[in-house]
């Protein structure tokens, strides 16, 4: 392990791998020749031609590496390639364990740590102690099951896992052989019961939690190199020798190496094992592990051979061949599928405290029985450590992702509105928490005790009600605030600005009419669209017409306001050129009711494109535009939203003038952070004023070049607005996307002038907030505007002890002005469990939410720290989380296994996706603006959005029968999952690709594209022809439904295999090594394992 770490090269993953490669290669090489194991590798290699090339280098390196396993450095490439190969090779998503197994062997010899199939299930780990392992595994699994969700599925897998894990361990540390033996035991302990039973094995499938464990103990060859190894078949020989030595040193290792190269030797032992185990494993099938496990066992056997492994080794051999799949490592697809199958059918009832909701990828209904729906609040963990010490130890961030105005599916009712009349909502006198189901009524109902601060309050006479025998109020069920997790109060005048009920909000459309905007056709398009769009402004309830007033401004380097008063025959334009000191030139007639001024508005929208048709003005201003909108709202004494349509860097002489400071040379330097920071503080100041006025800014950008999104998005970001960016906008290509976004943005329900406060019960406290908002103090989140897509992520810290009995309560109160100008309070309550055992914490975590938090944390970090530091921090934190688990909840003694908690088994893969995202590791083609854009987008994304954003969905379109109308099951985002005879759809919430394999059947091409051959398909096509056949309709339908799920319109891009656009597409295959240096999943897993081991040692 150490060695790996030492590896200087930046991509820790990459580097280590090389070393491995060397080893593995050797081993693999052997494999191909002989035993099953090799074959498996071969298979992988096969698929990935490209990779093979790499091996050679690997080979050369191999020798040295062998010599100095620690050197790990060089190997990077090889390792990666290796992984890639795996991906390619396999056909199946599911079980990949086998592959791992193979690698393991390789590792072991070298001493490198192997990632055993990191499978979630701890069971796998057990494998090391061959037979016993299984038992242990099972035990663990069992434990896992208990914890949670996975239960059913996992059990089977558990078995499977067992073996794989063992393998892993084996690979890692030879020395370990001994260790391995121990592992199983170690693992067992965590499980509690299970360990004892080594013998028992199968029973447990459940164990999902810790599943994988790489054992590659620290010993020399820690690196996952094993992975790489596989690649280099040819090299294998070179490797072998080396490996052998290692092996020699550690008995177990040797065994493995054999597996690889010497398949022969190891093989033999394995086979036996296999046979026996395999069956078991397969049965178990967790998503990922299923079959694979077998192989693992093999590995195990070789190494420990003697010791615990012995047993395992046997089985592996046979398996290896099949297992070559990378599928052995936890598969997001499988996890998602399982959750869907297990939890999608029953509604999620929120009555029970601390329940972990189904994954965001699962469709489920929610029944509110006292806690807020997960659509409103999701937590990283539903079981919080009682003490801060525990929390620090676990390093699991305690955070809630809150989406206060989330849209609900039609089947679910929106929150009840409670009107307490003039007295207003009932609150605790001390902490000001609002009445909620957790408040305790005492003294016969005359008083209530606040569940947050324990203060005893009098119940006002008009609110008095008797209690029943259980101490509940008799009317509890009739009052939403006593029985539901989410509800609204009508606010009294005390809750309004200046103690005046608010006026209905206003929308102001501010259109750039400089040369670029005119030339691209944007202005004409926009004006045309607005004519009809204005009839669909958000309205409340059954209101006949929207209360929202509208106003119009156009601008280039001066601003043009329009008087569209209904009494005018023609609109009037008022030019304000004093951009240095912006003001609103008119009051009456600027903001008007759409219906009343229909004719004048239409006339205006007709004339705007004409008036500026010949403009040659290229300079624009920006800050003054926002200022103007804000001043207009101020003059009208209302809140509202500005829709800004802007094209270029504002270089005209005015406040907020910007320079082109884009400098790619800064990337990977300490100054890189400046690219994310605003150029000038002017925009923050402006944003502050906007927030004070309740002026939310939505920005639509149409840049042809650098516009400094980092600076321009400051105001939208701080005012709860959205930014949309359409680079190189062309009406023909981008109209659909823009108009669709615009329609949605204009029509969506928004709350204005909002203040959000999160209260917690004594013991924890909200300490940090992420999202699009402004904070003037440490507690109040101020949002000039808040829509149903925006989330606020809140992090909590302990400031005292919690206790298991009371749990922890959150109450999120959002005070806002509705579209109709009604002042309301929306309350969301959520009760969480508290635990004194870390295992409880790990059992109730939600990885998606965790990733959401970590991504936001990291994306904020890039503003102040070098990107590399941010990445390292993430990795370290992740390693700490997993190490803590390993240390406290899994088998404490086994260093060589990678053991992941069931709930977090996807943490590495997802985290890797975050790490290699454009913000944290930009590729050459990613512009500074793109990064800033994504950075701010992610800041207010909800869990579902971050999930798909970081790990895109890849849907095969032609695999399932055409008649099958359900959404096809996704496949893992890796190139090796693509078959060139198929067509795939990939989406990440922002982009939508249709990938066409080079050897897709002509019939398919014909029915989808209306052309006769692959070569005739236009690359980069963004619209599929509408054809009257089943396939075409199905694909169109699928695309439509995907778009409907996302808050932004995804423009389709057709990518042909081997086309130059494919590079772009491949960027989204996040399990592969990325061009920008991002590690492949497997590499990263190895690295993570190494980190964990280091922490543990």
């Amino acid at each position: 392990m150490n060695v790996n770490q030492s590896a200087p090269p930046v991509p820790p993953f990459g580097q280590p791998q090389p070393v491995y490669l060397g080893h593995h290669q050797s081993s693999y090489g052997g494999q191909p020749g002989s035993t099953t194991a090799p074959t498996s590798y071969g298979a992988y290699n096969g698929p990935v031609p490209g990779y093979q090339q790499t091996p050679p280098p690997g080979v050369s390196r191999a020798p040295p590496s062998s010599g100095a396993p620690p050197a790990s450095t060089a190997q990077g490439p090889c390792g990666q390639t290796a992984y890639g190969q795996f991906g390619q090779g396999d056909v199946q998503n599911g079980p990949s364990s086998t592959v791992q197994m193979q690698r393991l062997p390789g590792y072991q010899p070298f001493g490198s740590a192997i990632l055993a199939p990191v499978v979630s299930q701890p069971a796998v780990l057990q494998p090391y102690g061959p037979p016993p392992t299984s038992a242990q595994v099972t035990a663990q699994l069992a434990g896992m099951q208990i914890s949670g969700t996975v239960a059913p599925a996992s059990p089977p897998s558990g078995l499977g896992y067992g073996p794989p894990t063992s393998l892993a361990s084996a690979s890692g540390s030879f020395p370990n052989s001994g260790l391995y033996g121990s592992y199983p035991q170690g693992q067992a302990p965590p499980l509690g019961q299970a360990q004892g039973h080594p013998g028992t094995q199968p029973p447990q499938r459940s164990v999902p939690l810790q599943a994988s464990s790489f054992t590659p103990p620290a010993s020399g060859g820690p690196r996952m190199p094993s992975m790489t190894g596989p690649l280099l078949p040819g090299q294998s020989f070179g490797g072998l020798p080396v490996s052998q030595p290692n092996h020699v040193s550690s008995p177990a290792p040797q065994a493995l190496p054999p597996g690889t190269q010497m398949t022969g030797p190891p093989g033999p032992p394995l086979p036996p094992m296999h046979s026996s185990q395999q069956p078991g494993y397969q049965l178990q099938q967790n998503g990922s592990f299923g079959p694979t496990r077998g192989p693992q066992s093999n590995y195990g056997s070789p190494y420990p051979g003697a010791a615990a492994f012995g047993s395992q080794p046997g089985p592996p051999q046979p398996l290896p061949a099949k297992r070559l799949d990378p599928d052995a490592i936890p598969s997001p697809i499988q996890v998602i599928e399982d959750d869907r199958n297990n939890r999608g059918s029953e509604p999620f009832v929120t009555g029970v405290r601390g329940q972990v909701p189904p994954l965001v990828t699962t469709n489920f209904l929610v029944k509110d029985q006292g806690n807020a729906s997960p659509r409103y609040i999701r937590c990283t963990s539903y079981n919080i450590p009682c003490t801060s010490d525990m929390a620090k130890q676990a390093q699991v961030p305690l955070a809630a992702v809150i989406k206060p105005l989330a849209r609900l599916p039609p089947e679910e009712a929106s929150p009840y509105v409670v009107d307490h009349g003039e007295s207003g909502p009932l609150r605790c006198n001390r902490c000001k928490a609002y009445m909620c189901p957790f408040m305790q009524f005492v003294e016969g109902g005359r008083r209530f005790q606040c569940c947050f601060c324990s203060c005893i309050n009098d119940v006002p006479p008009q609110y008095f009600q008797h209690l029943d025998h259980t101490g509940k109020r008799v009317d509890a069920c009739d009052r939403p605030e006593l029985s539901l997790g989410s509800y609204e109060f009508l606010a009294t005048v005390d809750y309004c600005k200046n103690n005046k009920f608010p006026s209905p909000p206003a929308f102001i459309f501010m259109i750039d009419v400089s040369y670029n905007a005119i030339r691209s056709g944007l202005v004409r398009l926009l004006c045309e669209e607005l004519k009809s769009l204005l009839d669909f402004l958000p309205r409340e309830g059954g209101a006949e017409e929207s209360a929202i007033r509208v106003g119009f401004v156009t601008y280039n380097k001066v601003l043009h306001f329009y008087n569209v008063k209904s009494s005018l025959a023609q609109p009037q334009m008022m030019v304000v050129s004093d951009v240095g000191d912006m003001f609103v030139p008119l009051l009456d007639g600027f903001l008007v009711n759409v219906n009343e001024s229909q004719a004048v508005i239409t006339s205006l929208l007709d004339q705007i494109p004409e008036m500026f048709a010949d403009t040659r003005e290229t300079e624009t201003v920006f800050a003054p535009v926002i200022q103007a909108g804000m001043e207009a709202l101020k003059a009208a004494e209302c809140a509202g939203k500005l829709f800004l349509f802007h094209t270029s860097l504002p270089i005209a002489e005015a406040p907020g003038k910007l320079k082109n400071r884009d400098d790619r040379k800064l990337i990977n330097t300490d100054k890189e952070k400046t690219l994310f920071q605003p150029q000038t503080g002017a925009y923050q100041t402006l944003a502050k004023e906007c927030v004070a006025q309740g002026c939310c800014v939505d920005l639509f950008l149409f840049p042809n070049q650098y516009v400094d999104v980092a600076t321009l998005s400051v105001v939208p970001q701080l005012t709860g607005g959205s930014v949309y960016k359409y680079a190189c906008f062309q009406v023909e290509n981008d109209q659909e996307r823009f108009l669709s976004d615009l329609r949605r943005d204009v029509q969506k329900v928004v709350g204005f002038d909002a203040v959000m406060r999160v209260r917690t019960s004594t013991g924890i406290r909200a300490v940090d907030f992420f999202g699009a908002f402004y904070m003037n103090n440490t507690t109040d989140v101020e949002l000039a505007g808040l829509d149903g897509d925006k989330t606020v992520t809140v992090e909590f810290k302990h400031d005292d002890r919690l206790n298991e009995e009371n749990g922890a309560l959150l109450q999120c109160a959002l005070l806002y002005t509705s579209c109709a100008g009604q002042r309301r309070l929306r309350i969301h309550n959520l009760a969480l469990n508290c635990c004194t055992q870390l295992a409880d914490l790990y059992r109730n975590c939600e990885t998606d939410t965790l990733i959401n938090y970590m991504a936001k944390f990291a994306y904020r970090g890039v503003l102040s720290s070098p990107v590399k530091t941010v990445r390292d921090t993430l990795i370290t934190q992740c390693a700490q989380i997993l190490a803590c688990y390993r240390k406290n909840c899994a088998s404490p003694s086994s260093a060589g296994q990678l053991i992941l908690p069931e709930c977090m088994k996807l943490l590495p893969v997802y985290l890797n996706c975050v790490l290699k995202s454009d913000v944290l590791q930009p590729g050459a083609e990613v512009t500074t603006d793109d990064r800033a854009y994504v950075r701010q987008l992610v800041t207010s994304m909800d869990v579902a959005e971050t999930n798909v954003f970081f790990y895109p969905r890849l849907l095969p379109l032609t695999k399932s029968p055409i008649e099958n109308t359900t959404e096809p099951p996704a496949v893992r985002a890796s190139e090796e999952r693509l078959s060139n005879g198929d067509i795939y759809l990939l989406e990440n919430g922002l982009n939508l690709f249709l990938w066409v394999g080079a050897s897709v059947q002509q019939g398919v091409v014909q029915s989808l594209f209306g052309v006769s051959s692959f070569s005739q398909i236009t690359s980069g096509l963004s619209v599929l022809p509408v054809l009257d056949n089943l396939l075409s309709k199905k694909v169109q339908g699928l695309i439509d439904s995907l778009r409907a799920q996302r808050s932004r319109y995804m423009k389709l891009i057709v990518v042909k295999q081997e086309d130059k656009l494919e590079t772009l597409f491949k960027h989204f295959l996040v399990e592969d090594k990325s061009l920008s240096g991002g590690a492949s999943y497997v590499d990263f897993l190895c690295h993570m394992h190494k980190e964990i081991r280091q922490l543990l040692s």
Binding site: K557, V558, H560, F561, Y562, L568, Q570, P571, Q572, M573, M574, V575, V576, S577, D578, D581, F583, P585, L586, L587, D588, G589, L604, Q607, E610, M611, A613, D614, T615, R616, E617, E619
Partner: protein, 657 residues
């Protein structure tokens, strides 16, 4: 052609530029006022020659410069009313600056035949007549709410600044007229005269004396700066102020005084006073040309015995030094050329000379001194013209030929010129100082030209050519030009403005109003401006230039009340009543600005206009001493002409002086 002392030449060289009228309109008006003003403005459009360029700026809380060239949507550039902008900023913001760049960044849409951007704001009337008429018709009152107890926010200072800047940037050194219509005082921004709190009244003379007018100095400076800029570019500024309260004319007076613009003060735009005055601006001569001229320079050349000491009138110095420029300044001096941006037939400059007694070049006996006035100007027909007037006067020796001088003395002209000097001084000095100076001058004159025995006041005599002079001075001392009592600062400024530009006859009327008497005793006759002229059976018609007062004596008024005029048998009474009315109409018809027309009677409150003017020969103090029933006693402590004269005589004969 020696008999013609004045010759005018028409210059054909140089481009002729059309007349330019820039309307600057206050929209913080009452609805009917605004309506009346809009109508007047629309009417004026019909009076303009078709090729005249017009522009429109409106202001209230904001200032809007209307772009007149556009079709479809009406456009205007809006400026904050609180911010002082430099000429360059204004031109930048209006898109008027584009020196080197051939591209028109602001709005290249403009037609090519108008290379000048200015065409967007100043358009030939024939092109945009309809548009502008509609635009004026659609003008709304300033839409910004005015809270209780506040004045509307009125950005006059900025509006004027923009108007000046606009013309400066587009038509420098071309005759142009900025016509500023205001319905109240500037209440914000540069040039503000009073705050918007109604409870704080606008400054009075009292405040000014107490140095309690906090905005005055700054505002004055602002308008002076604007006036100088406008004058430098040959643009004149008119101010039409119609409000019941003061509007800040005191601060703004330099705008008209330095540029030769008109200053009109009325109570409301919805009065005939304003409407007819305004209409009269566009009156035409026999050739159909406006009675106005622009961008004039007046050059004075003298023979070498004379030097020019200065000029007083609607002009600014061009700072042209020369051998004929005196070291001693009287009025605007130190130059032999002045610029007069706006001229009309009544515009008059008082020019002061000094006789230089050079020892080595004594004035030749019997010789003549010559003066030539050369006036370049832009005629309203857009021609450039030069008018040359030459005069020569005989020299007389002050010692030996005093009689000649006495005989040639024009006491009326002298009174007016002295009055101008006095008024000029009054603008910058304390009132009493000016009066003392005036008295001293009068005494010295009397000492020089009077015939008397020393120390014997009764022996004092003045020759005929001087006889009226002291009386003029007496009335001048009492006039609103030197007395601020009972006048607001605005009124004083208004009176002084007109005094400093009217010709001799009008000026004399201003100094000593004319009083006519109508009675059954004979034909109408001028009578003494004296309280003794106020008799019960007379109708008096007084013309003070600013006011026309018809005053019915007590008896006449009673008759009128009794309705005798309607009885056929008393038709002569009817005629008697009608006669002053007809005469008044005649005066009204010719006068610019329209005087205030007052029809009052004995005991009427408006009779004060008459009573304040007449010589208070009878007052409550001496009423019984006189013991006559003739005339009406005036309730005042002012000295009467008689007392004044007695005093003057005493001082004149006193050797102590």
């Amino acid at each position: 052609m020696p008999q013609f002392s004045t010759v005018e030449y028409v210059i054909q060289r140089g481009a002729q530029s059309p007349l330019i009228f820039l309307y600057v309109v206050d929209t913080c008006l009452e609805e009917d006022d605004l309506q009346a003003l809009k109508e007047s403005l629309q009417m004026s459009l019909s009076l303009l020659p078709p090729d005249a360029l017009v522009g429109l700026i409106t202001f209230g809380r904001m200032v809007q410069v209307h772009e007149l060239s556009c079709e479809g949507i009406s456009k205007s550039y809006v400026f904050r009313g609180t911010k002082d902008l430099t000429a360059k900023q204004i031109q930048d913001m209006l898109g008027l600056t584009k020196p080197a760049v051939p591209v028109h960044p602001a709005r290249p849409a403009q037609p090519q035949e108008h290379p000048s951007i200015s065409s967007r704001f100043l358009q030939p009337i024939h092109k945009i007549d309809m548009n502008l008429t509609d635009l004026l018709g659609e003008l709304q009152r300033d839409p910004w709410p005015v809270p209780q107890g506040k004045r509307p926010l009125r950005s006059t200072g900025v509006a004027l600044s923009i108007a000046v800047g606009l013309l400066e940037g587009t038509f420098p050194n071309t005759g142009a007229r900025i016509m500023l219509f205001i319905g109240g005082p500037p209440t914000q921004g540069p040039g503000m005269v009073v705050g918007d709190e109604l409870k704080v009244p606008i400054r009075s003379w009292h405040d000014i004396e107490k140095d309690n007018a906090r905005f005055m100095k700054k505002a004055t400076k602002h308008y002076e700066m604007l006036a100088n800029r406008a004058a430098a570019n040959g643009h004149c500024i008119d101010i039409y102020a119609c409000a019941l309260d003061q509007t800040g004319l005191l601060e703004m007076k330099c705008c008209t005084n330095l540029t030769g613009g008109h200053m009109v003060m009325g109570d409301s735009f919805n009065t005939s006073l304003f409407k007819q005055t305004f209409q009269r601006i566009f009156s035409k001569d026999f050739n159909g040309n406006f009675r106005m001229a622009f961008g004039a320079t007046l050059e004075v050349k003298t023979s070498r015995e004379l030097k020019v000491a200065g000029a007083i009138g609607p002009c600014v110095s061009l700072n042209v030094k020369g051998p004929c420029v005196s070291e001693n300044e009287l009025g605007v001096g130190g130059t032999s050329q002045w610029k007069i941006c706006g001229l009309d037939p009544t515009s008059t400059l008082g020019i002061y000379f000094e006789v230089v007694n050079q020892h080595n070049a004594p004035i030749p006996q019997g010789g003549r001194g010559a003066i030539q006035f050369v006036t370049h100007y832009q005629h309203s027909s857009t021609q450039r013209r030069i008018r040359v007037t030459t005069i020569a006067r005989n020299w007389a020796d002050a010692q030996s030929q005093l009689k000649h001088i006495e005989a040639a003395f024009d006491q009326e002209a002298a009174a007016v010129l002295m009055a101008r000097l006095g008024v000029f001084r009054a603008e910058s000095e304390e009132g009493p100082d000016v009066l003392r100076w005036l008295d001293r001058q009068l005494i010295r004159l009397c000492q020089k030209f009077g015939q008397y025995t020393k120390e014997d006041p009764a022996s004092f005599r003045l020759s005929d050519s001087f006889s009226l002079y002291p009386q003029f001075m007496f009335h001048l001392r009492r006039s609103p030009f030197l007395q601020v009592f009972n006048n607001s600062p605005d009124e004083s400024s208004y009176y002084r403005h007109h005094f400093a530009r009217q010709d001799l006859t009008q000026s004399l009327i201003m100094i000593q109003p004319i009083l006519y008497s109508y009675s059954f005793h004979g034909p109408p006759e001028p009578v003494l401006l004296d309280s003794s002229s106020i008799l019960a059976d007379r109708i008096l018609l007084m013309d003070t230039f600013f006011q026309i007062v018809i005053y019915l004596g007590e008896t006449i008024a009673q008759w009128q009340k009794a309705g005798y005029q309607d009885m056929p048998e008393y038709e002569n009474f009817k005629h008697l009543l009608q006669a002053p009315l007809d005469d008044a109409q005649e005066i009204l018809h010719a006068r610019f600005p329209m005087p205030r027309y007052i029809n009052t009677e004995h005991g009427g409150s408006q009779a004060r206009f008459l009573l304040s003017k007449v010589n208070p020969s009878q007052t409550h103090n001496n009423l019984y001493a006189w013991g006559q029933e003739t005339g009406a006693p005036i309730l005042t402590d002012d000295v009467s002409l008689q007392v004044f004269m007695d005093h003057l005589k005493k001082l004149a004969v006193s050797s102590a002086c």
